[in-house]
């Protein structure tokens, strides 16, 4: 899978999410990094829709974490925006097992990486012309292999 993506519209961001949904497995951790409005929720919406989860994916900021079921895998959508300090699994108030789900975390850099042995980091950004960009950064040999050699 390509590592660098240019995403002119929110639909492109959702399409990248859909592509990621095609390669995720139970227990996966995906950490989304980027400023306000870079497309973190849109990307997660794309993952959720392609997994086939029942209800629409909306921002989980207020409830910190939301579990979406009914798809190929449960999607645990975490927003660490309001969390302080290092979060552990209990603090995230998860009512689903991360081992059976794909866990997507917004605003969690430096807080949640210990939830899994390895993880995929997605660096999202917003350019001045309002186009979003994404860079996929694998952490761990498994993710390196899954993304392949394409630059």
């Amino acid at each position: 899978m390509k590592r660098e993506h240019v995403l002119p519209t929110p639909e492109d961001t959702r399409a990248l999410g859909a592509a990621l949904a095609g390669i995720v497995r139970p227990g996966d951790l995906v950490v989304l990094v980027g400023p306000l409005g870079a497309g973190k929720t849109a990307l997660t919406q794309g993952i959720g829709a392609a997994l086939g989860v029942r209800e629409p994916v909306t921002s989980p900021t207020f409830v910190i974490a939301r579990v979406h079921r009914g798809g190929r895998l449960p999607l645990v959508h975490v927003d660490a925006y309001r969390l302080g300090g290092v979060a552990d699994v209990d603090d995230l108030d998860l009512d689903a097992s991360t081992a059976e789900s794909v866990t997507v975390v917004e605003w969690g850099q430096g807080l949640v990486e210990q939830l899994a042995d390895e993880h995929l980091e997605v660096r999202l950004d917003r350019r001045d012309d309002d186009v979003r960009t994404a860079v996929l950064v694998p952490h761990g040999p498994g993710w390196e292999q899954r993304l392949g050699d394409q630059p």
Partner: protein
């Protein structure tokens, strides 16, 4: 015969609320908040909220009973928020409510947090007109509800497809360097500003968009972009104008959609609820537009708009009066309880 006395528990987020209601009369509304404890961590931590609920629970119940001038043994029914909310936080309220119901040998009513936000208005403005429309806006919810019968039948017409309205306030406040929660400081700053100074986008208001759904993510991004552009150019940010224009965009969309929903469904009563209903511009614009459309607007006082135990007791009291059966003793917490389940 006097009306039943209902004890209500609310623990869906960071407020421990215990209220007592007899019929539609508010007797007491005791509240403890764990906000100060969260401040040390820079945000709400669910585990800390749960622990704080646990510590605050019994003293808050005692305070509610003392303020109402009643004994625990006078209570005729117990009501408790079963969802939506933080699972761990809900569990503390549920455990307490079950314990009191069991110890006092009275029925237990699990209630939907959102429906309770509508029910609380009956404590101030009397019986709800049915059907009513309800617009609930808070840090976690933005919902437009058609309420044919608040005891049994609530229909979700629309909701946010991304961020809640209150969340947009929190995030814009952060962009403007204001404290959390963002609603009060933005409201204050906006009083000195011009709401028409900057034309921020109104989400989902196109002719083909879902007429009753909301989107505040694009607005939040537009504000962040506008402020960043100023900062990059080395220009001062007109905070009051940004706050007022942002607030105007939120209030405009919320009230326009609520009035449209009333008109489309032939409903002439609108209830506002949730923490964002405390926003002065939202209240003013809602009054103006409802008056123009011949809609009766009901807004509880700001104190009752935010989470509290009295709203849970108010809905419980309604359920008792309507003859709705109590919940099963194995009632559980449901973090994403759908709104059409008034009494889980």
């Amino acid at each position: 015969m006097t009306e039943p006395l209902v004890l209500g528990f609310e623990t869906s987020c960071d407020e421990t609320g215990v209220g007592l209601v007899r019929g539609r009369t508010l007797l007491s509304d005791a509240l403890a908040t764990s906000m100060a404890e969260h401040e040390r961590f820079g945000g709400v931590v669910p585990e800390i909220a749960s622990r704080a609920h646990l510590e605050a629970m019994v003293p808050t119940v005692h305070r509610a009973l003392a303020e109402a001038g009643v004994q625990a043994s006078d209570v005729d029914a117990v009501a408790v928020t079963a969802g939506p909310g933080l699972t761990g936080a809900l569990l503390v309220g549920l455990a307490a409510a079950k314990a009191y119901a069991l110890a006092l040998d009275v029925p237990l009513y699990g209630v939907n947090h959102l429906a309770a936000h509508v029910a609380v208005d009956e404590l101030q403005h009397g019986a709800l007109e049915e059907p009513s429309m309800a617009l609930l806006v808070s840090g976690g919810h933005s919902s437009l509800l058609l309420v044919p019968d608040l005891s049994r039948d609530v229909v979700s017409l629309g909701r946010t497809v991304d961020d809640a309205a209150g969340e947009a306030f929190d995030k814009v406040a952060r962009v403007l360097g204001m404290p959390f929660p963002g609603g009060p400081p933005i409201d204050r700053a906006a009083r000195e500003g011009d709401g028409s100074a900057i034309a921020f986008p109104r989400g989902l208001t196109g002719p083909r968009d879902a007429p009753y759904d909301f989107s505040f993510s694009g607005l939040k991004t537009a504000v962040a972009r506008w402020v960043e552009a100023r900062e990059r150019a080395g220009e001062p940010v007109p905070v009051a104008d940004v706050a007022a224009s942002f607030q105007e965009a939120v209030a405009d969309v919320l009230t326009a959609k609520a009035v449209r929903a009333c008109r489309d469904h032939g409903v002439d009563h609108l209830v506002l609820g949730g923490g964002v209903a405390a926003n002065s511009r939202l209240r003013a614009l809602a009054e103006e537009r409802c008056a123009a459309a011949g809609i009766v607007l009901r807004v509880p006082s700001p104190r009752l708009c935010t989470d509290n135990g009295a709203m849970v007791a108010a809905l419980g009291s309604r359920l008792v009066a309507a003859g709705v059966a109590p919940s099963a003793p194995d009632l559980g917490a449901d973090s994403s309880l759908p709104i059409d389940v008034v009494r889980p």
